[in-house]
Symmetry: D2
Subunit: 144 residues, 4 copies
């Protein structure tokens, strides 16, 4: 879907917001492409991000799904507004392992108060991309 | 609710499982009380676990809710079974900050294949406990 | 949890709201007890409310969970406010059949804009109550 | 996405399953197109399907989202298998009103035990289609 940003500086604002998420840096996630209503995150699996069987932890996957969706929403907010996640639901589809994890968030509907997003998380292993999680959530605008 | 564990060694098995979640150690979470169908996790907020405004990151909160619920479910599994999270939904109720974060998971229904859990995450600030998230999810048994 | 209603006439307002849900009458659901932050609905299973195997349809169960939670939330709204469901997630725990279905909604947190609720749906068969669904959702206040 | 049905008679099996949902007939919903991993439902709004403000009731919308997603999943099941909804989450995006409501379900991943689906519900008013709900859920195969 094509969205028109309310703030022409949307990309700078999304990147500045992301820079303040110390937890994203702690897990080594990197902000990728940001376009109006869309956002991608990248992560290299590491041994200290694992669950009991050595796959990337569900909490890491949920974090990526939440932030990818959240920043997709945030890219459509007006200048000066802040954002908070109201809720998110994640379905885990496959164990996450490989060279890289990519999360892609996109806006389903951008409303005045609430924005609904979907996100998908993919694992790339041997160059093959497999979907490992799907999320759907809502975010709230905090007006400036 | 009172549950009868299928495995008398449930607590040791839960603690052994938790010990393998490298990500939980990475964020400094500690496993607290484990009783049949219940599990508590504790975390001290740290600067490197924050979102854009300095509160504990939603991804950390989601991780705690997921694992507290998951281990509550796992405490009722038969010996030798493994567990995977099917899905979880988290509602964020308040920003998380304070001396300590506590997540409590409990089983709603323990079925043959699927177990349904609820979890709640609380922030303790100045000794006052505030609920900051509520989760509901399902987990699957992988038979031995 | 004990809640203090913002509107002393909360019960009359909830009952008036419910009376306008033509769909609830269409399925034969009845509003039961209403207290601050809580609401119960009752339904007698009928052959025309079934899914493919003769159990009460999941859509009926979801409707009861949504409305029980919604009216629990609405009971704490200020006079003149309207309500809309933002989202709801339902886990189905057991097939629903028996003499009666009861849905109970309760508020987890009543905020200025959003209220978070949980609801549970029970089937009573031969006098025995079995939980058949658990829901968690959020509702929005439309200020007068 | 393109899916290969496990049962060449998938469409007949989906239509036979749907015919037994008495509740779907009670609300006047009709099964539309069924292709592998996809399913559409159609409903004409009626006065007896309303919520408190005269829009199509959220419970009707949830029912359509659940069944459209469920039958999309079921279209990929092997011959003789039965289906049950594990859980579904619905975000409501806009009030539903107009000449017709259309729900479209599609499979995200078809696994051995669990199938993950997404569904969208649209209202058509004056010929214009507006998305009014988005769902994401999981369904379980009951082997023959």
């Amino acid at each position: 879907m094509g969205f028109t940003p309310r703030n022409p500086d949307f990309e700078a604002v999304v990147r500045e917001n992301y820079a303040r998420h110390t937890f994203m840096h702690h897990i080594g996630a990197e902000l990728g492409e940001v376009t109006p209503g869309h956002c991608a995150l990248h992560l290299k699996p590491r041994p200290d991000l694992s669950q009991q069987n050595g796959f990337v932890h569900g909490g890491v996957i949920a974090t990526l799904a939440d932030v990818a969706g959240g920043l997709a929403a945030f890219s459509l907010f007006e200048a000066g507004a802040d954002i908070l996640t109201v809720e998110i639901k994640i379905n885990y589809l496959a164990p996450a392992a490989g060279e890289e994890i990519i999360a892609r968030g996109e806006v389903v509907k951008s409303g005045r108060t609430l924005t609904i997003v979907r996100s998908e998380v993919f694992a790339i292993k041997g160059g093959v991309e497999t979907i490992c999680a799907a999320g759907q959530g809502s975010l709230m605008t905090r007006k400036p």
